[in-house]
Structure formats: C-alpha cells, structure tokens
Symmetry: C2
Subunit: 224 residues, 2 copies
C-alpha cells in the first residue's frame, strides 16, 4: 500500500427485546455506502479517548445514543478490499446489554435502530459489516454454551427461567432446564436477589450477576 | 488525538528447543527503544500484503528470517501510552512452530534470537511488548489445556510422549499420561505415521497432526 490505512472501530451490540435477540445498527448519511445500515463506529484518527475501547464506546454513544459500561474486543479485520476508498482496518468490539432505546444524534447518521438478528441475514449492510456480525454472533453463541453471559442482557433481578430463555434464543434451540441449572450452580456467578410471586405456584427465586462474573473465562483442565 | 495513530503488527512466535519453550525476539537498531529487544513486527503503512495477516508474516520474515505458514490473531492493543511518539495501535499475531534458526537480514534490526520464556520476565523489552507476550502466553496455555495445539511445535512424526512433554513444558507442570492420551483420542486430531523402535521395550507409535486440526476449537455444550 502507498499510504497509511484507515483505522476504525466498530461495535456489535446485542440486546434482548420482544422475545428476540436484537442488534444495533445506524444508517449512514455519508459516502461510501450512503443510506445503508452499518455498525455504529468510526474513524480512530481525531477521536476522543485514551484507548481503543474508550473510542469505541464514545463512537457508539455519539452515533446511537447507546451507553455501555463494558465492551469486549472480538477481533480486528484489515485488508485492501473492505472499503472502496482503499486499505482499511477495523477493531471490532461487542457487548450484550439490557435493552435501551437508540436514537441518532450526529449529523452524519440518518437513523439508529435495533434489528432482530434473524432478519439481518437478508439485509445488505455497509462494508464487510455482515461478515463482522456473523463472527461476533458466533462468539456470543460459543460463550452462551459455556458461560452465563446472557445474564447481561437482563435487567436485574431476574429468574433462572428468564435466563434460560435468553440462552435458548441466542442458541436457537431449547436446552434442558435441569442440566442448565446444574451448570449455573457450578459456575457460581449469580447472587440471590429476593424472590417473586408469579401467578400461581411457589415463588420464584430472583438473581443478579456477581460483579466478578465479568472476568469469567471457562478453562477445562487437560489433567483434571 | 490530533493525527492518525501509528498502526503496527507484532508477532509472538513460540517454539520448543533444548527442552524449553522459547520465544522469538529481534533487537532494535533504531529509536525509540534503540538497542532493546522487541517482538518482530512493524508499521502497516507502506507494507507489502493484502491483509493484516500477510503483512505480519512478511514483517516476521524480513526481521527474523522465520517463515510461518499459519499465524493467528490474538488481540489488538491501542492507546496513547505505549509508544513515546504518540497514539499507537498494534494488531498482535501468534504462532507455535517447529524450531527454525533465526537471523536478522534488515538494516534496522541488530539481531534476532530465541529466548527461553522462563528468562523473559526479567528482561526489559521495547514498548509494551512484555505485556503483549504475557497475553499471548496465557492464550497458549489455555489452548494447551483443551486442545493439542502443542503438536505444531513438533516436527512430524512424533510420539505421544513427546507431545505430552511439550504440553507439560507449556503448562509448567506434569500431566497424567492416561488422562492425556484419552483426551488426545477423543479429540481425533492425529493420524498414524508409522512407529519407532526406541532403546528398549515395545516400538512407539508415531503421529502427525491432521490438516483439519488447525480449525479445531473447543466447544462444551450447555445442554450436552
């Protein structure tokens, strides 16, 4: 390449609303890909923040009005094909958050909205954002298999049934309640938060995520 | 920030030599950090390659003479503190490879050499490369717990004892042979490659990694 590549950040923000896994998109109001939906993000050059993560959160807030207190790096994509203007790199972040309304408040964004993940596949998105979303979605599904990351999509407190339901929506299939609850117990990442009396039957226990759960990574011992 | 950040790639290359896990470093011959050891990498602007991965492999070859046929992205670090010249971003790649000699062949590199990982911690390296190495090392150890990634550090064919030995060196502790072999069998990532007659006793079976093993990622089912 002749000159330095564009360096951008992009965020894949998932939430749970209307019984569906949703993703946050913003409609572009500038070229390239004017008028097309894209991930909330933007150029690192000239941005506000001391770290890439801070810049990703700032871009997210500016373009969609969505505020996150935690965002995780997924991967970085960079090549000479993904942007018609030339060599371009995007550092991709992702988070699963309780639902909050989106609203665009930057001139160069025409709209901000949540879309059902199931409906995304048929949409034509800007740049390689469709590919990026698939990587982040696969990562979320893998995490849902071995952790209780889905708890972050629920406003606390929540019941174990609510938690299981979100896992089932993310994975796209039912899971056994007994097995799910045993694993939740083993993980030891929830703390009690009272109980709720539903329409009939016994009261259901309420939980919230322990603060330490953020750092949870699953390790299976080869020698264990 | 005022102008665009520096964008670099860096590679954390592990190998196994003299019964130890080793890491490849190059000695800088330019400021900043002139005369200090650093990861082989460099600026993306003006580099040769159509993807970040291709550029990382090219920089590695130019600076250390080490050729890899596969390299994996670990993470990206970027902030206003890691480079005295200002805002800087590094996309970090890593690989575990059979041992090959290193030699510097670029003017702006003073030396290229392998260091025992155990001896690295006390070295003062350029930039935040010490921190980057720790992240890559932790990733390698986690992968060694659930996959047989260590097979890539061995010239094929190899025995299961050799494979186990490398896992033990990476993990820094002994593992049970019986349990290790059961997991190796379950993983189904090795293929037979004859046998070898050692000093005494039965011949030992030889193996090599299946080509598909590269794509192996471990997923534990929540509902399984």
């Amino acid at each position: 390449m002749e000159k330095a590549p564009f360096l951008t950040v992009d965020s894949v923000i998932f939430s749970f609303d209307e019984s569906a896994l949703k993703l946050l998109l913003v409609k572009r109001a500038i070229d390239p890909f004017n008028d097309q939906w894209s991930l909330p993000g933007g150029m690192v050059a000239g941005a506000k923040g001391n770290t890439l993560e801070a810049i990703a959160r700032d871009k997210l807030m500016i373009k969609s009005g969505v505020d996150v207190d935690y965002i995780e790096q997924v991967f970085t994509t960079g090549n000479d094909q993904r942007d018609p203007r030339g060599w371009s790199v995007s550092v991709v972040y992702s988070a699963l958050i309780p639902y909050q309304a989106a609203h665009h408040n930057a001139d160069w964004v025409a709209d901000a909205a949540w879309f059902k993940v199931d409906e995304l596949a048929s949409m034509r998105l800007a740049f390689d954002h469709q590919d990026i979303i698939q990587v982040a979605l696969e990562r979320l599904r893998q995490k849902s298999l071995y952790s209780i990351v889905a708890g972050y999509a629920l406003p606390a407190p929540f019941t174990l049934s609510q938690l299981q339901h979100i896992h089932e929506v993310i994975l796209g299939k039912p899971i056994q309640a007994k097995s799910f609850r045993r694993r939740i117990e083993q993980a030891d990442l929830l703390e009690p938060a009272g109980e709720i009396q539903l329409d009939r039957g016994r009261p259901a226990a309420l939980f919230r995520m322990k603060p330490a759960a953020r750092k949870y990574t699953f390790v299976r011992n080869l020698d264990g």
